[in-house]
Symmetry: none
Subunit: 134 residues, 4 copies
């Protein structure tokens, strides 16, 4: 029986790198966004709200990031009822909106990014920004 296991964790520097890449993408496609980066346990590491982004979407960006980290897959793919019930059950930490993407390194989910304010394709495009060296 092992009481500990070694896991790779996202550093602040890594989160800042992911955030910078997402900001660059958001500017490139002219989509002012809220962008949140969390670690694998759902705690906030880095955040940006660009000028013009909807202020309430600060919450949904964070929820999307937590959801993607917990589900270990992109957000927004659940059925209506399941998504609503999960949101209710988790105090809205889980949210069934597209724009949350897990950050995966060497097949391990080390965190997630959540993007909110724009149209769905914009949120997804910004969240999917490739920010890690291969």
């Amino acid at each position: 029986m092992k009481i500990t296991r070694l896991r790779s964790q996202l550093t602040y520097d890594g989160a800042a790198l992911a955030l910078e890449a997402a900001i660059a993408k958001a500017k490139a496609i002219n989509a002012p966004e809220n962008i949140a980066v969390v670690d694998s346990g759902g705690n906030l590491l880095a955040f940006a709200r660009l000028d013009g982004a909807r202020f309430l979407a600060q919450h949904s960006a964070y929820s999307k990031a937590q959801t993607a980290a917990s589900l270990m897959m992109p957000t927004g793919q659940l059925g209506l009822q399941f998504g609503v019930d999960l949101a209710l059950a988790t105090g809205s930490r889980s949210i069934n909106l597209p724009g949350g993407i897990p950050i995966i390194v060497d097949d391990v989910v080390i965190g997630a990014i959540g993007v909110s304010s724009g149209a769905d394709p914009d949120d997804i495009a910004v969240a999917e920004t490739r920010c890690w060296p291969d």
Copy 2:
């Protein structure tokens, strides 16, 4: 008029037994789960989050257990609107997701188990694990 009534209550030992059986089932079907056991008043008695289980599902496992104990029947069988309204009315202690099963001994609901993280059939299979002698 009687001012008291005798009720059978789930002990911690009973809850631990139910939890162990559910953990064994979860491992057997390779479904990392959050598993919560509550008493008939909905208070948490025992809990486990297995390695690899989605962390936000810690909340839904507990909500499912409370819901099953309160409804005195398996969870996830309400209509969409009724389920959402009950969740809202109860501060999400009631949730309309499958995976909550009452624990019944001698026709009395003495508690419930709630399981969350996997696909619905896995959550249900783990929650339904038979853990009591006939």
Copy 3:
């Protein structure tokens, strides 16, 4: 710049071992307790409420565990005002009550245990139970 770092994490088996040791101690000193074990990010891993334990203390046991994991030191040592303000600022995830102890392996805080229901010395004694091989 490193985007990830390797960290030791508490497994469920490790959390269950810590919980079992705390339960044994609680029984040995005849102190029915709520006992919560969290990982280093504050998410619940394992929980027990022993027969006779105060049911509202399920919440304080969890808060104590989260606080010890976050502070990376035993709980209950802050001044009155600071403790109250931190509790308010964190939605009571941080609580200034003794009975929360970080779980440290090789100088790394990998989680914490929180114990609540009894007198302070009992809560502390149960939380401090040595459960790891040297």
Copy 4:
């Protein structure tokens, strides 16, 4: 009667600059911190949680920033009872802990920074980092 007034507002670029300066200060004094920057309406603009910072302090950093923006003065200077009552009345958006500093340009409060995780002097030193050209 004027139905509009011109107000200077903190941009995301300004918030990022304040955040960077605070991060540099935190690293210089070896104080891993949570750092939040809000606009004059209390909405989050930028956030960082440095490696080693206490995760629950993500909440208090944000509360401190909101409090400083609202009070238009540094946080932590209220009496105990007043501070607690304000926290309760505001759902903990207002918090009476030092480490929140308004960002003032041309005598106008355009936002605030809140810093939390370290000892009070560290939180204050990081929050007070001068980041604007004279």
